[in-house]
Each structure stands twice: as structure tokens, then as C-alpha cells.
Symmetry: C2
Subunit: 455 residues, 2 copies
């Protein structure tokens, strides 16, 4: 689209446009002078182009003087200044895309100070803290930008796939009266003089919506006061959530693995430019992604000399070991695997209880639940949900939650809640396997964690 300051984006300039006068705009990526010629490399988000300013031989003295001044002016523009350029397209077989611009006029739209607080050429490596503190210009670095471009491709691919299954996009409330799982991780809000919280997840609301809209999804922020400063936790993250009426955990696992595959395939199809910038090839995701039960996982760990208390959750060291074994045995799909049928007591109250089983000499109630992991990292978690009020109340009590404070949610189970199932997935977490980033913060525009409230 042609806008006030430019007629073309840089990538739209092609050799076929030779001789055409164009107006482009962007950042001064580099500038140098060789004799009487100024070479300016202009950058916009689509690419780079060289603009050459030279004093013409066959022109009036006046024009020669003007261009001489211009060459001088161009040479003095600080890097990262914003400029608009008028010039003529010229074929140049030596140029990266076969074209350059013969510059005629330049307007400095915003002059940059120097030095910059962060090198944006990407040549100088910077610590992640420095990068995040200087995020607005860090995002001019191709590899920083690439990740956010891929995040955008991811949300597009997720939605496209869910639309094919007739899901409805919903927006559930983020200011809520009581927490999904309670606990110290809730972020308090002062709401019209009342104490409230920020939603840790759309869990209870998306469940309620299955009793009318049936298939719902949401991609929205969620909040946890994460006290652990790890590369995989954000205090504000983007949660991808689905919930389906008349489905169980096996049904929604199928949706989930297709979502992951669709994102991966969209990256290869639409995001190859950005993957190249990152020099990363996401793993191929063949379906079905292998499932192993909690019991099998527990036994593999035991055989490896790691004995977990039966019924307890696995930590990162356990998942590292487990995924190593699974990868060796070819029981992952590009590093992805499901652990299914978790011990019921280790899962949230709304998780459907399953059969009893003996694990490590203990009788354990299982549940219709799963985690999707990639290597040691939990990407998504889901389950069949309880749809009977009495069962819900029992599970709440067993976890020290007071059913009365959930009455606003429980009462609808009296009026036709369907069986349902769903999952939640951390969008930034999914970017770890699919973009190769070492830290989920790099998949957030301006990450929020324990220490970071600005920019």
C-alpha cells in the first residue's frame, strides 16, 4: 500500500522497474563515501537497497552544486536515522537483488543520536538483558524480528486450522473473582474498590462456553506471579486455549498435535525467510505424536536409576532424562511426545478421574489427562474435564478449595453442562522448538517477568 512517505517497500523494487522514479523510506543501515559518490544502504522491514548519490557529469552547474551538497549531507547522516529518498531505479547486476537507486533527493525524517545503546546490525552479540532493555531497537536486529514474525505466522496457522473444525474465537474475562487453581501465583487487581485477580487461564470460562458455543478457542494474555527466574517462565504469557463439548482427552490431543504440525508446516511454507535468518530448521512433526503413560514414564525413569515418589509430578531433570531415552528409542516426533494418564491428585480439580493402577507398589488413581512435551519442556497441558457437579465439589474439597467460592461456576453444572475436554498451550513455549530460541522472553514483544515492568 502506498502511503504518505513511500510509494514502494524496498522488496517491491525490481530490475523491471529500471528508469522509474520512486519514493522509498526507511533507516540508514550504513553509509560511506568513495571519492565523490555517497553510498547509502537503506533498510525497511522488507530488506536492504543501496542508494547512490553522485554528481552528474552532464548537468547544469546549479544541479552539479546541489548534488555535491547532497553527497556531503548524506555522508553525515547518523546511522539508524529515518529518511525518505527519491531516486531512479537502476539495474545493477552486482547488487544483491539486481537493483540500486540513483538518489536524487533525501529527506531526513528523524535524525538518530549516536552512539546507539545497542548495535542493531547484529554483528555484535549482546546479552539478553541488554537486548530486552533496549527492545524497541533490538527488534531491528533481523534475528530478533524473525521470532516475532514467526509468532504472528503461528497464530495465523493455529486459527486457520481451528476454523476448519468450526471453532469459535472467544474473549473471556481477564479480571476474575476467584482463581482457577488458587495459590500464591495470582496477580491481584483492584477493581472498582473490590479485590480481584488477573486470570491465570481462561479455564473455567471456556468450560462454561462449551455448554452453548461447544467448540471455542482463545489466544490471549494470562498471568502468573512466577517466582522462578528461568528461561521458560513469563509473568505475562500468551495462552492458546481450546475447549470442546462432547469430546474427551484423546479427541483434543488429536486437535493439539494437528495444531503443532500446522504451525510447523506454516513456518516452512510462509516463514522460510525468517527461519533462514535464524539459521534454524524446525523438527518435522509426524502424526500421531507418540503417547506414553505416566506409568511407563515412571518405569523408564526407574530403570534409569531415577526413582520418583509414585504419583508425583516430574521435574526438569526427570524430563531431560526421559526425553533422552524416548528419543533414543525413536518414541518422539521431532522431540515431541505426550505423557498421558497422570495421577489424578497431581492435576487440577477439574480433571476427570480415571481408573486405579499400581505404580511402584502404590495404588494410584489416574486421570484422563496429558502433557505435550518437547524434550524437557512442557508445551501444553490438557484433559477430559469433570462435567458433574458432585464430582467437582469432591475434587475441590480434596484440594482444600472451598466450593462456595466457585458457586458462580459450579451452579451451571446443574443445567446441562456437556462432557468436555480441552487444553492450554503457552504460545511462547511452542516457539522454543519451532524457532530455536533459548528463552521464551524472545518470543514476547516486551516480556514481563519478576524484574521487568519496562519497557
Amino acid at each position: 500500500m502506498k502511503t504518505k512517505y513511500r510509494e514502494f517497500k524496498i522488496s517491491e523494487i525490481t530490475p523491471e522497474m529500471e528508469g522509474k522514479e520512486v519514493k522509498i523510506a526507511g533507516w540508514v543501515h550504513s553509509v560511506r563515501r568513495v571519492g565523490k559518490i555517497a553510498f547509502l544502504v537503506l533498510r525497511d522491514y522488507t530488506g536492504l537497497i543501496q542508494v547512490t548519490f553522485r554528481v552528474p557529469k552532464d548537468a547544469s552547474d546549479e544541479e552539479k552544486e546541489r548534488m555535491k551538497e547532497l553527497v556531503k549531507k548524506v555522508t553525515q547522516i547518523p546511522l539508524e536515522s529515518v529518511v525518505a529518498v527519491k531516486g531512479v531505479v537502476r539495474r545493477d547486476p552486482r547488487a544483491p537483488r539486481g537493483v540500486e537507486i540513483a538518489g536524487k533527493e533525501i529527506e531526513i525524517l528523524n535524525e538518530a543520536k549516536s552512539p546507539l545503546p545497542l548495535d542493531v546490525s547484529g554483528k555484535v552479540d549482546a546479552h539478553i538483558d541488554t537486548r530486552l532493555s533496549n527492545r524497541p531497537i533490538d527488534l531491528r536486529r533481523p534475528e530478533s524480528q524473525a521470532v516475532l514474525r514467526l509468532v504472528s505466522i503461528a497464530t495465523k496457522a493455529i486459527r486457520s486450522y481451528l476454523y476448519t473444525l468450526d471453532f469459535t474465537e472467544v474473549f473471556t474475562p481477564k479480571i476474575i473473582a476467584s482463581g482457577t487453581e488458587g495459590g500464591a501465583q495470582m496477580v491481584p487487581v483492584f477493581y472498582f474498590g473490590k479485590n480481584a485477580f488477573l486470570a491465570q487461564s481462561p479455564q473455567l470460562y471456556k468450560e462454561l462456553l462449551t455448554s452453548s458455543l461447544e467448540y471455542v478457542f482463545e489466544i490471549a494474555p494470562a498471568w502468573r506471579h512466577e517466582e522462578s527466574d528461568t528461561p521458560y517462565h513469563l509473568a505475562e504469557f500468551i495462552s492458546v486455549d481450546i475447549e470442546m463439548a462432547f469430546a474427551d482427552y484423546e479427541d483434543v490431543m488429536k486437535v493439539l498435535e494437528n495444531v503443532v504440525k500446522n504451525v510447523r508446516d506454516a513456518f516452512v511454507r510462509e516463514g522460510s525467510k525468517w527461519l533462514e535468518v535464524l539459521n534454524y530448521q524446525p523438527p518435522e512433526v509426524n502424526l500421531p505424536i507418540p503417547r506414553i503413560s505416566y506409568k511407563e514414564a515412571w518405569e523408564i525413569l526407574k530403570a534409569e536409576g531415577i526413582e520418583i515418589e509414585p504419583g508425583e509430578d516430574f521435574g526438569t531433570p526427570e524430563l531431560r532424562k526421559l526425553s533422552e531415552v524416548l528419543e533414543k528409542e525413536g518414541k518422539t516426533s521431532g522431540g515431541f511426545y505426550f505423557i498421558v494418564e497422570w495421577p489424578a491428585d497431581a492435576r487440577p480439580f477439574y480433571t476427570k478421574r480415571g481408573r486405579k493402577e499400581e505404580i511402584g507398589g502404590k495404588e494410584i488413581y489416574l486421570s484422563e489427562s496429558f502433557d505435550l512435551n518437547w524434550k524437557h519442556l512442557e508445551i501444553s497441558s490438557g484433559s477430559t474435564r469433570i462435567h458433574k457437579r458432585a464430582e467437582l465439589e469432591e475434587e475441590m474439597k480434596a484440594r482444600g478449595l472451598n466450593p462456595q467460592s466457585f458457586e458462580w461456576y459450579l451452579k451451571w453444572f446443574d443445567y446441562g453442562m456437556p462432557p468436555h475436554a480441552g487444553w492450554g498451550m503457552g504460545l511462547q513455549r511452542l516457539m522454543v522448538p519451532l524457532t530455536g530460541i533459548p528463552n521464551v522472553r524472545l518470543a514476547a514483544s516486551f516480556p514481563r517477568d519478576m524484574k521487568r515492568l519496562v519497557p
Copy 2:
């Protein structure tokens, strides 16, 4: 997709499937008995179907007895209970879609209590407060559900259009250190022991992103402690935001009017079923949507006997009168019109100041800004933004804001902020003209306002 509890959605059952045994599931919409036959109307989100249970003439005594019991059982199921049905598809020319199901088995998945707190058939009109307090089952009413289905179609259409212009979807932080415009409408958050706020808009962050990603959009919640209890205000609303580098207010107005047109056209194309339920036809949106300047608007009002202090904002009564006049003169597009070039002092600090003009005998600084209205309702607001630090600081001071508390934002204007422009639009507000709802709350799944924190 076939799931645990059903093989087909109701709308997928066609006369061509005659004789096929199917498993379907849904809610008991109505049930009656005529002689020895039970007629159950089953509902899922795709439609209704009649399931007939009758005692067969040519069957074993055992089977006859079983079906007799079944007929009795079916007749006693409370309305809105959730059931799964097995039966055989039968052509029935008298049935609405030409098919019914000869029921063979029924499983009650969740029995509903009666009476229901709200009639869901839609036959009994309920007050909006009652509806919102019973939102999980209110959304089973076709006209309630229709609005949320159309909201989902709207977000899809908005994104589709913006993708064609190469916009990147972003997620900006919702917990922020200082407000965009300050003021009493900020919702306080207690963030890791620090005082912070919920974002009223992604304004400052989306601006910063234009210096790298250039074209960005976001569809996300935003919060305002709205003390005014009107049909058009929510404390938590969905804000559709775009921001474009190298563009001015005229460029982004073009994007905005195309967004509105695309949503309207998508409703007619993909949402006709839901529009029929609402018995509403959205107005045709022909482009360009007419623009009138603040000065012209001011003069029209004066001619109508309404004299506003020159430079002041218009209120709802003024917009009602103004839009009446414009509609009479054919100067709206289906009720939509832009008011452009607002007095600079009446706009937020980041708005680009324009030329001086005489209005009502006063010299007034205008700005490169606009509102998109529909009749008396403001749908969207936008402008060219200031991209020079010194100008921003001046405008802040003029509004009693302290530039130091915006240093985290201002400092990036030293390092190559491009000229940029954008707008924000209330998604639920847009639904007023396009779905005919009288209250924006009806376009939220679980609205949040002064009084409403649950459900």
C-alpha cells in the same frame, strides 16, 4: 470431527443418510409423548433434529419391553439435559430438514435441574441483567449466541484483511508502569510488590513497534474504570489496534474503512445464518466513508442551534443531531462518517498538531486526527502520531504529564522513530451497527462493568 460422544453434528445428518445408524449428542430442547411414541427434539450448536422413540410392531417381546421402557424414560428427561442418542436416519418430508432419527438408545450424560433460571427457548423475553447473570445458559438462546458467532467472524475478517497488507500480529504487555493518558480510569495491579496498571490501550507499545516491525496490529483486552453505566461502555473491552510506519492519518483511515467494510461483507457472506436469527441486516458500507472536518461539524451544529465552545469535544446529544443532519444530506455511508482534524488540545499528547484555523471566532490548533462514528456512537479514534521527541515532551507538559515518567517510551524517539499513524477500535462497539445489538455487553462473553465481576 468425530468425537467420543458423537459421530455427527446435527446439521451433518442429511436425507441421503437414510438407513444409517448414527450417534449424535446435544441438549433436550423439547420432549412430548403422543400415545406410545416419544418425540424428543435434540439441539446442538448446529441445529435441531427430531428423535422419535416408538415400540416396534415386529420385534421380540424383550425388545418391545425395552423400547416401552425407553419411551417412558425419554418422556421424563428434564429439558436442557445433555444426552447422547443412537438411532437410524429416516427421511421425513414433514421434518424441517427432511430427516428425523428413529431412536434406539439414549444415554443421559448430564441431567438438568428444573426449573431453569432463564428460559433458553428465546420465547420468553428476559431483562439484559437477568440474561448476563445467567450468561452460560443465556448463550444457548439463538440470538445471544448469534452475536458471539458474529464477533468471531469479525475478528477473522479483520485479520484476513490486515494480512493482505502485510501486517504482523503482536501481543503488547498488559501490565504497564504508567498510563497512556493518565487519569482516574486506570485499573491498578499489584505486580511483584510494585504498583502498576492494566493497559488502557496498547498505544505506546504499538508505536514503538513501528520502528522495527513497521505494520502491526493487535486484538486484545484493554481496561478502563468506566464510572459511567451506559449501554456503550465496558470496563474490559476488546481493542482492535493498528499502527503503521511511514503513514499518516489519511493512510490509516483508508485501512480502517476497509476493515469495517470487510467485516460487514464477511457477515453477509459467512454469517447470514446468524444475521437471520437476529433479524438484522447490517448497513451497506460504500467507500470512501464520508469525511467532515471538526470545523464543518461545529458549523452544522451551530446552524442547528447547538453552540459548542470552539475546540471542545462533542457529546452524545451533539453527535445525535450531527448524524441526523448528515444522514439527511446523504453524507454518511450506512450511518458511518469520519470527523477529521480535531482541535489538538482535545486529543491525547501523542497526536500530531496541524494548522491553525478560525472556528467560531477563535483561533484553534487542529490536529491530524479522526474519529469514525456510526450515528451517535464513536467506533474508532486515530491520528498521525508525533515522531519527534521535543514535540512529544511539549505536548505532555501542556497536559500536565511529566515526561520523566514516560522516559522508557520517549528515549526511543532519539534512535530513529519513523513517522507513523494508527487507530484503536472497540470491537464490541463495532458490533452495534453490524449486529443491531442495543448494548455492547451483548458482544462480550462475560462482560465486566462497574457492577459485574461474576460470572
